[in-house]
Amino acid sequence: MCLALPYGMDDSSMSNIVSGLVIIGTSLFFYYLTARFPVVKGYQQMGDAFWPRLVILVLIGLSVILILQSVLKGMKKESTKKGIPGETLDRLALLKTMGVMVLYVLCIPYLGFLVSTFLALIIFSYLMGDRKVSGMVYFSLGMTIATYLVFGLLIYTALPRGVWIFKSLSNLLY
């Protein structure tokens, strides 16, 4: 749903109603979870569930106001806002970048930090418009090495080494 809405529709009635409903649904789920909190002796009154419940109820109340406001606004006049004129959104590039970002983070424990970072940087550069292969490779290599020097060597960050053959490779490199 979120990807179906162009920028500039932040204040539109429909997006407000949808976001209000999502927040209410999520809040009710978490409110249900607060019932599972153990009651600690000495803290029966105003226990651990008190504060989250208070905040959740406030959030639900505000979401209801947001929805009502949006419904009333929608009844008064149909929103005519159709995004910023001339603005084009590259949703495919966004989805690809998001996907690669998730893959990158998930791959770090398996491929090791250096290998996964080198590969991810090449793909990110390509997705963001770089078309020069040598430029992408040099940039990715340079950034990966620089990160290793600063974090791995200078401040002794234990960079993930990966598993299997990648672990052996990482052990060779650092």
Binding site: F30, W51, D90, Y104, F124, M128, F139, M143, L159
Partner: protein
């Protein structure tokens, strides 16, 4: 007292001590620029290197590092919308907007000037009124702390997105997210879903990196990158530091003074540090401004206020440390360890028995803040070159810094997952018009609000009137109510004025 000050300055200006402060400044600069690396970690890492030094030399390295790291976060905040340090979060709002308009140099210059001045104001206050101030702050009970948290939250309606309602909702979301993890009062696990990475709650810095850095890259990519350039950016021919003019300094004088004072007082309060000081500095600048609607659009007040406040908080945090031996922040908690390694025990006895050392620390603090100017010049020359890079170089670099910065916090992939999750969350929040700043405000103040409220209630036998019968607490709460309603009242008044103007015309 003058003699002691003169001795302090003389001691600090010894070549070895100047060198120590420069080394501290350079490390602080590096730490401050790199997101996810905090001053606390840097101070902890530097302690072993100070073993063989004179106590004052070792302490000066740490002071200089602490001051510079607090400032340096603003460089990346302005240029890349990444807060290198958490206290620079508020600087993003106007600093980055100025950079987008091609005024990065002016924004950076204002940040340097404000940080230095804020730090110097706090040093003067630290030296002059350290004992009385800490006595007042130490008198605060739980009711006052709760009211103070509410007062901090009350500014949420005026910052962030355009909608007051959505800003308040975002702050409530932040308060809710702050409840994740182990309860500070009873030790119960809340919303951890059996995942050990959530036991300590949502780690703040990784969340902030995700919210501000990753969501920004997503947004830029979605908006489309023409020839790899960011949408809306003016090419920065060469970023030159544009220090504020005399006219601008005169115009900002109350902002500097107010933020310097707020930052010092907040710095004194235990557990409330430079980040909160920056929030209060910014929100008070909005409150007192003749044109609050311009905040967030790229104005120098929006940089001067948080930067003066966050650096002033560093001096404030030293007050309870030096006078009472109580750390006012995570960095000063680590510093206590460093003092002890050198055979010193901060507290009232040190103030009485070693005044020469104490006044050398005051003088060291003064010079550490002056060194911020040098740090700014070096840091900007180094970082600003990256500004003109095409986005296919900057975007991937931001994503890499976000990942490695959050990982390096605790050498933990859990923090990277938090960063990623908050990157997506921040993107959705922005898409739907919810402000990120109120969300962060809620996350910062959530624990303070909950713990102090529950403790106040427990101690008063669940009598809620304790919040309004204590004068300071009542004053804070009344102020909060007015502050929360202010944008609505202002809107109503403007509407009525508009109608009157129409009718009369």
């Amino acid at each position: 007292m003058v003699d002691l000050f003169l001795y302090g300055f003389q001691n600090v200006l010894q070549p070895v001590n100047i060198l120590a402060m420069i080394v501290g400044m350079l490390i602080g600069l590096l730490i401050g620029i790199l997101p996810g690396l905090g001053g606390t970690m840097a101070v902890a890492l530097i302690i072993p290197f100070t073993f063989n030094m004179e106590p004052i030399t070792g302490i000066l390295i740490m002071l200089s590092l602490y001051c510079t790291a607090t400032y340096a976060g603003s460089i990346t905040a302005i240029l890349f919308k990444i807060p290198g340090e958490a206290p620079a979060i508020m600087t993003i709002l106007d600093g980055h907007e100025m950079a987008k308009k091609g005024q990065a140099g002016k924004a950076l210059g204002t940040a340097i000037f404000a940080s230095t001045l804020g730090g110097i104001i706090s040093t003067i206050l630290l030296a002059a009124v350290s004992i009385p101030l800490s006595t007042v702050a130490i008198e605060f009970g739980d009711a006052e702390y709760f009211a103070m948290a509410v007062m901090g939250l009350s500014v949420c309606s005026g910052i962030g997105g355009k909608s007051v309602l959505k800003n308040i909702m975002a702050a409530a979301m932040g308060l809710f997210l702050a409840t994740f993890g182990t309860s500070s009062i009873s030790g119960t696990q809340r919303f951890t879903f059996g995942y050990s990475g959530l036991l300590m709650g949502i780690t703040f810095i990784p969340a902030v990196i995700g919210l501000f850095a990753i969501s920004e890259v997503f947004e830029q990519v979605e908006k489309g990158l023409k020839e790899g350039r960011r949408e809306g950016y003016k090419k920065q021919e060469k970023v030159r530091i544009g220090m504020p003019s005399w006219k601008e300094i005169k115009y900002l004088k109350w902002t500097f003074l107010r933020s310097g004072l707020i930052g010092t007082i907040i710095g004194i309060l235990p557990g409330v540090g430079a980040t909160t000081a920056a929030f209060f500095g910014y929100s008070e600048a909005v409150r007192w401004s003749k044109h609050p609607e311009k905040f967030g659009t790229g104005i120098i007040e929006g940089i001067a206020a948080p930067e003066a406040a966050n650096n002033a908080a560093t001096g404030g945090a030293m007050v309870p440390l030096l006078t009472l031996g109580i750390p006012g922040s995570a960095v000063t908690a680590v510093m206590i360890g460093a003092f002890m390694i050198h055979g010193l025990r901060p507290g009232p006895m040190m103030m009485l028995q070693q005044p020469k050392l104490v006044y050398s620390i005051f003088a060291g603090f003064f010079f550490s803040n002056l060194l911020i100017i040098l740090a700014g010049i070096i840091g900007i020359k180094f970082v600003a070159r990256l500004m003109d890079f095409p986005y296919y170089k900057v975007g991937p670099a931001i994503l890499l810094f976000a990942v490695i910065g959050s990982y390096a916090m605790n050498n933990s992939m859990s923090d990277v997952y938090v960063t990623l999750a908050f990157g997506f969350f921040g993107y959705v929040m922005k898409r739907y018009g919810f402000g990120l700043a109120p969300l962060i405000l809620g996350m910062i103040l959530g624990d303070l609000a909950e713990v102090s409220l529950r403790r106040a209630m427990l101690l008063s036998n669940f009598d809620p009137t304790i919040l309004i019968t204590r004068p300071i607490s009542a004053g804070f709460l009344i102020f909060s109510a007015l502050s929360l309603c202010y944008p609505l009242i202002q809107k109503y008044l403007l509407k009525n004025k508009g109608k009157e103007a129409l009718a009369s015309s």
